[in-house]
Symmetry: C2
Subunit: 344 residues, 2 copies
């Protein structure tokens, strides 16, 4: 097989959820948007449901629809983008709970689906999604009377525990919601780690479940092994790959592996990335191609059959650093050509 | 619907192939690897087959299998990664033609599938895929006697017409193949534009079909419109998005659109990207989130229902420049959440 193998450890995923759940005072939900952070919302959702998750969060109604088909009736599925035009049918048929972001969305929801559950998303300072304080104060009494199942907001700087924005958003959120009957949620993974004052009635971790920072105690969930297509000798002074960007400083042995930027191995990482043959690091040389990477395996005493990008020696965050991005983007970029190996 | 709409103009795709075919002396194939450069190999393959393409190129046997199911028997499907361990079954069942990259692959192929068509990939200096000159001279007579349907190589610097590597690779390729009976191919899109000496018996354009550089005369194939979820007033001095990276220099009106790096809107483009409301450019502000981007729409006299990233005003290459990459990666990163609108 030419396909690389992406192994997904659903047991590790569940242990990460359990560890975050142990930190949380109230309920612990799970964010499975962007196809379960690239790992597959249906399999991730089913594993977490079996572990006890009763509240899931997705980005769009379409994602909610797919998740509902996978997990069946029972758990709540909250939709961050709220109730958009055209969302009424999936909201009703898949029993999704929109997190209403504006007065416009609230009007659309109560007109189209009177009595259908909803939550409220408030903007506490990130200026991205949710009702503004002024907007909220105008509709709060009407909204609360309708019994929202959740009132939530999202932190902009939770990955930086000392950032003043955290306390500022916490105060804003409390000012908008203290004294109300409804259940409240403010914290994703970063907010969960900020401590109890940020937890309210529900935390909703995402990246931490999948083994990424800022949850430093997360266990790794993904392993990615790339098969070697061929290995060649390259003489000192010869070049490798597009644009001749790498010139061999000495005679070298170069492996070409199946896996490139079309598989989410972000082109920007180029020769800053390292693959592993067992415990031996092997640097990527030259540019990442669409389907291929070239790797210096001169230090090995054998030609490897495969090389590992993520796993025991490198986390999603190490790879992200090589690519100049964050672990979240490494995960959500993982492509469709991998043979996916689910481990429980 | 919360989904963004990715419109794919299959008529434009076909016109690009026809334009490149008009430049080529011999046969003009088509590269549809990486799921047809992100646009969908089945739909792209069927459209090109109807236009007259008889030779397709994919990266892996698995991709060949999917393409064969879409286009049926008849056209040749060449596999760049050659005949890997485990590929025998799909090679036989989907009638794929491996481009053998090494003596190891040649031995595997003739042992597993004697009499089954194959091509040869030669390395003319890129040091990525294909037999080296020494390897080739050792097996050339045996290989040619088995009647390869194609002997090919790939250019490392064809996007730079003045690069000395082009003439060097052309000379290497001719030295390895002149006088042989088999059909030959050296040029992808860039090589096709280098002129007739690079064309041999078949050109095999990829990126040019999909509207990307270096084919400057390509017509655009993709349009991407992102729906607006909500629009808010942001006061001078307020911040927007993760990490508070953007501070409003004046009172502003900010739209939040559905579409983020999980949709392939590469995080690195950040606030270097621009969306369009009709003819009016609207800058992205703050960080690109997983599912969302925030856009300054202050200059508009209305709140837009959607904003366009790619289309009449911006090509894949313009967007690539904002992200510090190439159009190829923008295309192959396009995600699965889009509503795909096929135009013929």
């Amino acid at each position: 097989m030419t396909s690389a193998t992406l192994s997904i450890d659903l047991g590790a995923l569940v242990r990460n959820w359990q560890a975050l759940d142990a930190l949380s005072e109230g309920e612990t939900g799970a964010v499975v948007k962007a196809n379960g952070y690239g790992l597959g919302a249906p399999v991730v959702g089913r594993a977490l449901m079996r572990a006890g998750v009763r509240s899931f969060f997705v980005a769009t109604a379409e994602e909610g629809n797919i998740l509902r088909a996978a997990i069946g009736q029972g758990p709540d599925i909250y939709v961050f983008s709220g109730h958009m035009a055209g969302d009424t049918k999936p909201m009703r048929e898949a029993a999704l709970t929109p997190l209403l972001n504006s007065v416009d969305q609230m009007l659309r929801h109560v007109e189209a689906l009177p009595g259908h559950p909803f939550g409220i998303q408030l903007d506490s300072g990130m200026n991205r999604l949710g009702m503004e304080p002024g907007e909220w104060s105008a509709v709060r009494d009407i909204a609360v009377a309708q019994g929202p199942t959740l009132i939530m907001s999202h932190l902009a700087c939770a990955d930086e525990p000392d950032h003043a924005m955290n306390a500022h958003q916490l105060a804003e959120f409390r000012a908008m919601t203290d004294g109300l009957e409804a259940r409240r949620s403010l914290a994703a993974t970063g907010g969960t780690l900020l401590g109890r004052p940020y937890h309210f009635d529900m935390t909703r971790p995402g990246i931490g479940l999948y083994g990424g920072l800022p949850f430093v105690d997360a266990v790794p969930v993904v392993t990615l092994d790339l098969p070697v297509i061929q290995v060649r000798d390259v003489m000192q002074g010869e070049t490798v790959g597009y644009g001749n960007t790498w010139t061999a400083p000495r005679d070298a042995r170069i492996a070409t592996v199946s896996g490139g930027y079309a598989d989410g191995l972000i082109r920007a990482m180029g020769s800053k990335a390292t693959l592993f043959a067992g415990d031996v690091p092997c640097p990527v040389v030259g540019r990442v191609s669409m389907d291929l990477m070239t790797v210096d395996v001169t230090e090995l005493d054998h030609d490897p059959a495969e090389l590992q990008l993520m796993g025991r020696h490198q986390s999603v965050d190490t790879v992200a650093e090589a690519a100049g991005t964050i672990g979240y983007e490494i995960l959500t970029s993982l492509g469709l050509r991998y043979a996916r190996n689910l481990m429980t």
